[in-house]
């Protein structure tokens, strides 16, 4: 069987939907295509089904929090989709940046079923909303948990160190047995 020649994913995507592509970056031979959040499913569909691209395997979905910095005109969050093509044996990162007040991306579960739990985890740990996801419950944290632990402004530790000036305040809130 003749395998069609591999295409440059960034060029192919720009040729098909130039308005969706914000930026193309390369670092250490890894290509990152930055796209508009609303166009993510469309872009993934194109990358998966086009001749010469065939990114048919979703390796990972990695959310990032840039707090306190922002990128691309004040966007705080980013979601990276790590794709892999078995046919051409190469990887690609599709990345989208989100605003803090509306961190919403359309779900990729229609394109890759594997995105189901990856998106649930991103929702749970980073508070990204994936619109249209069939089952966006918390995954790793308990159902009644408040906050999203992987956000950069979420404290790592729980117990405040006790000094004489704050001992009283800590004792008031600390959950241990009292008389």
């Amino acid at each position: 069987m003749q395998i069609p020649a591999a295409l440059n994913p960034a060029d192919a995507l720009k040729g098909k939907m130039a308005d969706a592509v914000l930026d193309v970056k390369t670092f250490r031979d890894e290509t990152t295509i930055v796209v508009e959040p609303s166009r993510v499913p469309e872009v993934l569909h194109f990358l998966r089904d086009s001749r010469g691209l065939v990114y048919n395997y979703l390796s990972d979905i990695s959310p990032v929090d840039y707090y306190p910095e922002t990128r691309y005109d004040g966007r705080r969050f980013a979601v990276s989709y790590h794709l892999y093509s078995l046919l051409y044996n190469r990887r690609l990162r599709v990345k989208t940046y989100l605003f803090e007040d509306d961190p919403t991306v359309p779900t990729a579960t229609e394109v890759y079923p594997a995105a189901n739990w990856l998106e649930r985890e991103a929702h749970d740990m980073m508070g990204i909303d994936f619109s249209g996801h069939p089952d966006l419950r918390r995954l790793l944290m308990p159902d009644d948990w408040k906050g999203h632990p992987h956000r950069r402004d979420y404290p790592l530790g729980y117990e405040t160190v006790m000094f004489s000036f704050n001992a009283e305040n800590i004792a008031k809130h600390k959950p241990f047995a009292k008389e």
């Binding site: 670092f27 250490r28 890894e30 990152t32 048919n56 395997y57 979703l58 390796s59 990972d60 990695s62 959310p63 990032v64 929090d65 840039y66 990276s80 790590h82 892999y84 078995l86 044996n89 990887r91 990162r93 890759y112 079923p113 594997a114 189901n116 739990w117 990856l118 985890e121 089952d135 918390r138 995954l139 790793l140 944290m141 308990p142 159902d143 009644d144 948990w145 408040k146 906050g147 632990p149 992987h150 950069r152 979420y154 790592l156 729980y158 959950p175 241990f176 047995a177 009292k178």
Partner: protein, 421 residues
């Protein structure tokens, strides 16, 4: 008395099991009580840790299978964000505790890629030895527990006998049996100890015969075949779509082994085969892993030979990233400065992102590392094979008997520490 609650959680008295919460997750027959809802786990011997599976059963048949993870979530990714890069390695051991070397390696390789740090040839050969030993270690635990789940007790005892020898070898290398932290950015922690190579050669001498012993207990065993053949069939397209990797993917006949496809640590110089299954059932995944053990022995034998000719030290000489030898500290002021800087401030890496994926015993383990331009990462994320495999459990187990679920869970080889991180 005040009730103890976890931070961030509302102080609710207890979870009132509300069936309405399950609407759209289970079939409508469960809501009317026609089918049975049953919790399997989190504490169940055949869930290999703390996996909870909510089952909707029609008699013995599984209508819906909803896996629930998170019981072993330890916030490893979050914790590494507050540590310097070098210190992150010790936490990675604790994810997939049956394959600590793979975790060390993927994190170290991500740091090396971000830093642009080269690893000497000798260190790479040592890494290959460690990675293949960890594969044997993990496959032996899988074999023992999988057979135990299906009622073959003695295989477990034999497999753990050999695993014990591997753990002893890890102890020779790193001083630790399980939480090795041996592979570090820039190479490995220390050179091979004098007793390690004789122990490894001795082990490789008798191990292939032991694999045949395991096979004689299971491969043609009619009970084992009845329990595994035609059970948990995964079509190749489904396996890819659901993000499966490693032996689970290859059991379905998809030839993707990262050691061959995107070689790292010099895997392209080794001669080994990638076993493939045909039917994608539990039995084929078993055959693939058994053959992988034999191939690992082949790689290990070649690695021992390569060790004689491999140049360079056991870690990089780049003192900006790798600490100087202890002996130099008494003589060289630069060494003292480097030592002090590395163990206090660490090193700074660029505000860029990299993704590295390697072949762990369970499949593709990936590390996504995003620097800040400072000495701590902005984000560390691990793509773990167990996580992807558990997410596909509902798809694989649908329509099977509840006893088959035990075989399926065993065959996809999950480690909950790997899944929950």
């Amino acid at each position: 008395m005040t009730m103890m609650t976890h931070p961030g959680a509302e102080a609710t008295s207890s979870w009132e099991g509300n069936i309405e919460e399950l609407r759209n997750l289970v079939s409508d027959r469960a809501l009317s009580g026609e089918t049975l809802l049953l919790n399997m786990g989190p504490h169940h011997p055949s869930t290999h840790g703390v996996l909870r599976v909510l089952l909707e059963l029609d008699g013995e048949e599984i209508v819906t299978c909803l896996p629930d993870v998170g019981y072993l979530h330890t916030g490893i990714e979050k914790n590494i964000e507050s540590k310097t890069y070098e210190k992150g390695v010790t936490l990675t051991d604790r994810m997939d505790y049956l394959a600590p070397m793979s975790n060390n390696a993927v994190f170290s390789m991500a740091v090396e890629k971000l830093a642009g740090l080269d690893v000497p040839e000798r260190a790479q050969v040592i890494r290959v030895i460690c990675l293949e030993l960890t594969r044997l270690n993990s496959h032996l635990v899988w074999l023992g527990t999988h057979a135990l789940d299906l009622g073959a007790m003695s295989v477990f005892l034999y497999a753990f006998r050999e695993r014990e020898v591997i753990l002893d070898m890890f102890e020779m290398l790193s001083g630790q049996r399980m939480m090795t932290s041996y592979i570090r950015p820039g190479g490995v922690w220390r050179d091979l100890t004098p007793e390690f190579l004789p122990a490894l050669e001795d082990f490789l001498g008798y191990f292939p015969a032991r694999v045949s012993d395991y096979e004689s207990l299971l491969t043609n065993n009619p009970i084992f075949k009845d329990r595994t053949q035609g059970i948990g069939i995964v079509e190749p397209e489904d396996a890819l779509a659901w993000g499966m990797s490693g032996p689970c993917l290859r059991g379905s006949g998809v030839n993707w082994d990262i050691r061959k496809a995107m070689p790292y640590s010099g895997y392209e110089q080794y001669d080994f085969d990638v076993p493939l299954g045909e039917h994608g059932d539990v039995y084929d995944r078993y055959l693939v892993r058994i053959e992988e053990m034999r191939q690992s022995v082949r790689i290990l034998k070649q690695a021992i030979k390569r060790l004689e000719s491999a140049g360079g030290g056991f870690r990089s000489d780049n003192r900006k990233f790798v600490p100087p030898p202890r002996a130099e500290l008494g003589r060289s002021m630069e060494a003292v400065i480097h030592h002090f800087k590395l163990w206090t401030e660490g090193y700074t890496l660029p505000d860029e992102e990299v993704y590295v994926g390697i072949e762990s015993p369970r499949g593709e383990i990936g590390c996504y590392l995003h620097g800040t331009g400072g000495n701590k990462p902005r984000r560390v994320r691990f793509k773990t094979p167990s996580f992807m495999h558990i997410s596909s459990l509902g798809m694989v187990s649908q329509g099977h008997m509840i006893a088959d679920l035990v075989a399926i869970i065993g065959s996809i080889d999950i480690v909950l520490g790997d899944s929950d991180r």
